[in-house]
């Protein structure tokens, strides 16, 4: 790899980071959707960029997004599946006029995540192939252990104000029941989408997009609309309430969770962060926010970096799956370039975070929270309808079939929204919505997926 190639690759990554920084402010717009539209554009128009440059562009985008998506998560309460945990402590900070500080704490965590990934570089080509060789035959039961832990670690949340008997029992168990129902229903939805998706094949690469938007984003937006929360004026602090020791602890915990999620199939950053948080007994909000910042960077970026690791080339996460359809890295140089790009764009994104958080504070001060939420909802529904419509259209469908594909996307999103509202309204964990992936894939891994799909009438 020549110096010119190296610099060109870095420039594309920086370009991707700048694009993502602008888009990250748009609530609920996931970077995978943008990458998906670029893939769609490639399919429709032919390659407009050499695939190796597109990969670097995507790497810059995902690095920047993983740090900057904190802003809408905290100020607009619109998380994705890996930032759900940031929202609650973030909201707390927001209501205490400390939204800026929360964003910076997450950003510090993001920098810690980038540092952890850079430190792993020398050992990654030996560590991860060996890990995969060891774990490959155990993935199925490990995944079910994760599921079991996720479901069993939720405790009854009663108020103890109900009279003894069934009513008191239900008071304690209703959130647990709601969590199980959420997991079960989202799992059923996952089965339908994986075995008999009503979306056209040409948009299959974003098959789960309507479901994820419905499960995670729309319920938050609806909650924002219904709650009519008035945001207090935010204070832009010149220092943050954290010590280096807490940053280190948060980084270690977050990196553990993020790496677990990045390496392990199906497990997302939220689940990884949750397990790592429990494993390292975090009780401090600051520590928690930092660790979540680390976790989501390591999950998003580390997952994509695994695709570049020599001798591994593991496809984890939406970005890697999308890039793998067009290109595969071949040399160790690709990996070192990717790490360099992550470090450069990670640092750049942190500084962008500081600036863009101030911008977001000004925005929420001037534009009413409900209006932003409403606009977000419209944007979400447009994306949900546009992806399958465009896929069908580019795949050679008729206008009618393209329109139907869009409506199908909205139908899936609507159903997912109903499921996603259950934990919001009953106060259970939103992470249970990950049943959409965990249940069908977990059952597939133990060879029971087809049987269950048969029971559900999904196999003709």
């Amino acid at each position: 790899m020549s110096t010119a190639d190296f610099i060109t690759g870095l420039l594309f990554a920086v370009g991707g980071a700048l694009i993502a920084s602008a888009l990250s402010l748009v609530p609920a717009l996931h970077i995978y959707n943008i990458a998906g539209f670029l893939i769609l554009g490639t399919a429709a128009l032919g390659p407009f960029l050499p695939p190796e440059h597109l990969a670097m562009l995507f790497l810059g985008m995902v690095t920047s997004y993983s740090i900057l998506n904190t802003i809408p998560s905290i100020f607009l309460s619109v998380p994705d599946d890996s930032t759900v945990f940031v929202v609650l402590p973030g909201q707390k900070y927001l209501m205490q006029r400390r939204g800026y500080e929360a964003a910076v704490l997450t950003g510090v965590g993001g920098l810690g995540g980038v540092a952890a990934l850079a430190l792993l570089t020398p050992i990654a080509p030996r560590l991860f192939p060996a890990l995969r060789a060891i774990l490959q035959r155990h993935i199925h039961w490990l995944l079910w252990t994760v599921i079991a832990y996720m479901l069993l670690s939720e405790w009854p949340k009663g108020t103890d104000r109900q009279p003894p008997g069934w009513r008191r029992w239900w008071d304690g168990w209703k959130s647990l029941t709601a969590g199980l129902v959420t997991f079960f229903l989202s799992g059923l939805l996952g089965f339908v989408l994986m075995y008999r998706s009503i979306l056209p094949p040409a948009s299959a690469y974003q098959n789960l997009l309507p479901a994820f938007v419905g499960l995670f984003a729309v319920p938050w937006v609806l909650q924002n609309l219904l709650a009519r929360v008035e945001l207090p004026e935010q204070h832009v602090a010149r220092s943050i309430d954290i010590t280096p020791w807490l940053v280190l602890r948060g980084t270690v915990a977050g990196a553990l969770g993020g790496l677990f999620a990045a390496f392990f199939p199906v497990v997302t950053g939220g689940i990884g962060g949750f397990i790592a948080g429990h494993a390292t007994a975090q009780r401090d909000d600051r520590l928690f926010i930092v660790s979540q910042g680390v976790s989501k960077v390591v999950y998003y970026v580390g997952g994509f970096l695994l695709f570049f690791v020599p001798g591994l080339h593991l496809t984890r996460g939406g970005m890697a799956w999308m890039v793998s359809t067009l290109w595969r890295p071949h040399t160790p140089h690709d990996y070192y370039l990717a790490v360099a790009a992550v470090v450069a764009t990670g640092a750049l994104s942190f500084f962008l975070l500081l600036r863009l958080t101030r911008l977001a504070i000004r925005l929420v001060a001037r534009v009413h929270y409900r209006r932003i939420s409403l606009a977000t909802l419209v944007l979400l529904l447009l994306i949900v309808a546009a992806v399958p419509t465009a896929g069908e259209w580019i795949g050679g469908g008729t206008p009618a079939s393209a329109l139907r594909a869009g409506l199908d996307g909205l139908l899936i999103c609507g159903v997912a929204t109903g499921i996603g509202l259950i934990p919001v309204l009953w106060g259970s964990r939103r992470m249970n919505c990950m049943g959409v992936l965990l249940l069908p894939i977990g059952l597939n891994m133990i060879g029971a997926g087809a049987t269950v799909a048969g029971w559900l009438g999904l196999i003709p």
Partner: protein, 562 residues
């Protein structure tokens, strides 16, 4: 409302909670939202399920698959053009499906692969398959993962009966039924068994990949000469048709023999028959070894043809000695042409059937004894008898040469190793021996040589012996190169090399190397006793090789182990 309905704290007359910011009035009851959420989830899921189960799995063509179809659950229809490949350790099964627009690799893992195998749903090479699964697009490679064994539907066309020689590359992927005789069975690699089948029209290979045996059972042990019927699909290996059965059960032994060649008359053979398998019968007119095997002439009354047996074929004969002039023989072999002359080349020993043994050395009584001075190149090909004294000996990898001299002329008596081994008295055949021999007169690099067919054609009338002055092992010098000397001494060390043995001997005056070429070493009487410490006497030519002097005996009898 004095308390905030959102956080429960006292708010007094405020319209918004001063603690959590929630509005106090104009609120939607949570119960309503809960009911709406449950309804949306349950009814929506039911509606989605209703629509999904009534939607057919979309069928796509291989060439249509693009990056945006990654993870699509689709059906692809086509014909299996590679595989199936099965790896029991990892439980991985794959095959490649092709339609008019391209190819897709289809894969199944562990439980799905096992279910496909157990239910006999694994498609075979050439099968028409309709399979549904999840598409994976990775760069240039497209694959489809089977999740549901029931989503694999296979259609196997009827096989058409064909003669082996009629198969051409145009029959690629055609399902055929052939009958033939097992000609050979070999394993070019651990993962493949190739069975060559022949019938009267020609030959073709049956390819049985290891994966096929893992999926359908062990192939029955086949021996050359057995007749079988095979049903399979025509594949191509470098444009040569091969038949790949769908199961090992499609290779069936036949009770009756399938002929591999039709009887022909020798006189009818022409250049046009080259490559054809024929059966000929007749009388052996002459026979003799050559550097790579054995040749004999076969005359059936309509003409004569040379039959060539390669060394391995010749060594496989149950009674090679019977293959002599006068023998009645039936041969099945392939017609070939060498230097403009037609030859029949059997490739298996079982294809040479000696009906009546030849007398061996019968040429002795019929061949005229000619003076050596009368041997001229225009007599090449004749069988002649010669007599003379051995005046020189030589050794080469395929045999030994003895120069005969009758006072008026000289000729080389060439004995191939097989002939030399057949001699009644090899010890007497050495320098100064009186010899009578009968053989075909041939020429090699301008030198005439008489080549007996067997050891019986060589008669040692008076034994000879190599003689040379005895020298001390340490006395040899560069000036001795090219002279014949005798040395004796104790063996100090023995080393094998690619062409034979190096033996160092020492009589107390110094060490000298004795080089024994393999043709000599293998025939030295008592060679097993040639170990360090043993005493040997050697007569040989002194040669210098890379500055080292070595004594090279010409004949096995020139080495005596005590």
């Amino acid at each position: 409302m004095s308390h905030c309905p959102s956080c429960g704290r006292y708010v007094g007359p405020y319209e918004a909670c001063p603690h959590c910011g929630a509005s106090i009035g104009d609120r939607l009851p949570i119960r309503t939202a809960k009911a709406a959420a449950i309804l949306l989830a349950a009814l929506g899921l039911a509606a989605l399920w209703f629509v999904a189960v009534r939607s057919p799995i979309p069928t796509v063509q291989a060439g249509q698959v693009g990056a945006t179809m990654n993870f699509a659950y689709v059906r692809i229809e086509g014909q299996v053009v590679r595989g199936p490949f099965y790896y029991p350790d990892s439980g991985y099964l794959s095959f490649t499906l092709a339609d008019d627009t391209g190819e897709v690799r289809v894969a199944a893992y562990r439980t799905t692969a096992e279910a496909l195998r157990a239910e006999g749903r694994v498609p075979a090479f050439g099968d028409h398959v309709s399979v549904a699964g999840t598409l994976r697009v990775q760069g240039e490679s497209t694959s489809l993962t089977i999740n549901v064994p029931e989503h694999v539907e296979t259609f196997r066309p009827e096989a058409e009966p064909r003669a082996l020689g009629s198969l051409t590359p145009d029959d690629y992927l055609r399902r055929v039924r052939v009958r033939g005789q097992v000609w050979s069975v070999r394993q070019p690699s651990a993962g493949l068994t190739l069975i060559t089948l022949r019938d009267t029209s020609g030959a073709a290979e049956i390819a049985v990949p290891r994966s096929l045996e893992l999926l359908t059972g062990e192939l029955l042990p086949l021996e050359p000469g057995q007749s079988v019927e095979v049903v399979g699909t025509v594949d191509l290996y470098r444009d040569t048709p091969q038949i790949v059965p769908a199961s090992v059960m499609d290779v069936v032994l036949l009770p009756e023999e399938v002929p591999v060649a039709e009887p022909v008359q020798v006189g009818m053979l022409t250049d046009a028959d080259v490559g054809r398998m024929v059966e000929i019968s007749g009388t052996v007119t002459w026979a003799g070894p050559f550097s790579a095997g054995f040749k004999f002439g076969l005359d059936d009354g309509s003409g004569e043809v040379t039959v060539l047996l390669w060394q391995d074929t010749y060594e496989g004969l149950s009674d090679p000695a019977a293959l002599a002039a006068g023998a009645q023989v039936r041969v099945t072999g392939e017609v070939s042409i060498y230097r403009g002359k037609i030859e029949v080349v059997p490739s298996r020993a079982m294809d040479v059937e000696v009906l009546t043994p030849g007398s061996g050395g019968t040429t002795e009584s019929t061949a005229p004894e000619v003076p050596l001075s009368a041997l001229t190149p225009d007599r090449i090909g004749e069988t002649v008898a010669v007599r003379g004294t051995v005046v020189d000996t030589a050794s080469f990898s395929g045999g030994f040469k003895f120069t005969l001299d009758d006072g008026a002329g000289q000729v080389v008596l060439l004995l191939w190793l097989a002939t030399y081994d057949d001699l009644a008295d090899p010890a007497g055949l050495n320098l100064s021996a009186q010899v009578r021999a009968t053989g075909r007169l041939e020429a090699y690099e301008g030198t005439l040589q008489v080549v007996p067919a067997s050891g019986a054609d060589v008669e040692v009338l008076a034994p000879g012996r190599a003689q040379a002055p005895l020298r001390g092992t340490g006395s040899l010098a560069a000036d001795d190169a090219g002279t014949r000397v005798a040395v004796e001494g104790a063996i100090t060390r023995v080393e094998p090399f690619s062409g034979g043995r190096r033996v160092w001997i020492d009589d107390g005056t110094g060490e000298v190397l004795v080089l024994l070429w393999d043709n000599v070493h293998q025939r030295v009487p008592g060679r097993d006793q040639m170990v360090p410490g043993a005493w040997v006497q050697v007569i040989g030519i002194v040669e210098e090789y890379r500055g080292t002097l070595e004594v090279v005996p010409v004949l096995p009898q020139d080495v005596e182990v005590r």
